[in-house]
Amino acid sequence: MAKVVAVTGNEAVANALRQVNPDVCAVYPITPQTEMMQRFSSFVSDGQVKTELILVESEHSAMSSCVGASAAGGRVITATSSQGLALMWEILFIASGTRLPIVMPVVNRALSAPLNIHGDHSDAMGARDTGWIQLWSENGQEAYDNTIQAFRIAEHMDIRLPAMICMDGFIISHSIERLEYLDDQDVQAFVGKFKQLNPLLDIEHPVSYGPLILPDYYMEYRRAQAEVATKVAQVVLDVADDFAQLSGRKYGLFETYRLDDAEIGLVILNSAAGTSKDVVDEFRDRGIKAGLFKPRLYRPFPYEETGEALKHLKALCVLDRADCFGGSFGPVFVDIATSLYPYRERPILINKIYGLGGRDYLPGHAELVLNELVDVAQTGTVRNYKEYIGVRE
């Protein structure tokens, strides 16, 4: 029986991790993730999980510990935000290149400087090409559900890649929402027993991790990893099917909201999608065919499926909660544009940068953008391909 609770996003994900009961967890605090690992640490000290907790001196060490523990043959977790994720940077590549299925909630927060602790996608966007799987979550329920599914996806024997579960700092991590928890034994049965692959601690079958691979083989390993990335989407869908049977909650590679017959649309990640859906409803009430597309599996990005879902629109705005300095457009925009490039008939694309450093994203912002899209769709002309919204001029 599912249990209905009122909890913060951090509390929900910490509870998912308790229900999974991993072997090893490396912990280092950073706002706004701290509460999650604090709660998980309590589960450890209260004997509610059998997890070995490693208290490390930095996020670089946290991820290094995870790499060692995962190679040793354990089910391994950690969590981080912002500067913490940035400090893990070089080890993120080692985790994915070594094909270690570490699971890590990332509570999205802005990067310094200037110093800021609030919701922003710059941290995870900076790590989007590290070879990790990224699942993005609109609310506490999705963060909880994605965390449980991430273990099955990452640990799938055809995949064996680390996975991040992204949710917005403070907006989700610290807000109390109504959530449904699954039963402990259902979560345990869903994730199953951890399957080891070449564990270092199997002394009957000694193995070496981390060899030097010279030019005669490096490219073959990279090509093999690129191939694995192509298999992730199907596994995500299969795991989502199983999860729907257990929970009644359906997930895909992305969520489409009133998009099938839409003429104008928004692409937006995480919590701001919720706000935008309300505004899409208001436009629909006025007879304007608006829709929304919310990526869930952002890495590996499902280009073909995304292009197929968006190609019929007349005008589309991609909203980015991160900017690519010097790269001209926001990161999600670049991926959406790439997914639409193969189509001769495709929507006119515009890009808005919003909500940096926790700046509120309000219904009025979505309204402004949708009104602009109505105009773009009618006239076929674009005033500005990229601009900041919600900023003082």
Binding site: G97, T98, R99, L100, R160, L197, N198, H205, P206, V207, S208, Y209, G210, P211, I213, D216, Y217, M219, E220, Y221, R223, A224, E227, V228
Partner: protein, 97 residues
């Protein structure tokens, strides 16, 4: 040794066969090759002791030929060789000459 395709490599570059460094022939790294001159050899076996790559063979307690599959040409053996009456039993010769 035939090089593997990307479809054949182990996930994450993990090496699952222990003791396989024997298959990695490092002799091709050599730019100078040690040559043994048996008539100047006093069988002290200093070369065998100093060789960092176990590339000097000993048979029945006597110095035998170099193992050129693994000799990287570091020249330690030639340096340490006392030789006989001032004549070295190991000299270094440039590869390809």
């Amino acid at each position: 040794m035939k090089l593997k395709s990307w479809k054949e490599v182990n996930p994450g570059a993990v090496i699952t066969d222990a003791g396989n460094s024997r298959e990695f022939k490092t002799g091709s790294w050599r730019s100078f090759k040690p040559v043994w001159i048996e008539e100047n050899c006093i069988q002290c076996l200093f070369c065998w002791m100093y060789c960092p790559d176990m590339a000097i063979k000993v048979k029945d307690g006597k110095r035998a030929e170099f193992d050129y599959d693994f000799c990287k040409g570091c020249g330690l053996c030639a340096l340490e060789c006392p030789g006989k009456k001032g004549k070295k039993a190991i000299i270094m010769v440039e590869e390809g000459k």
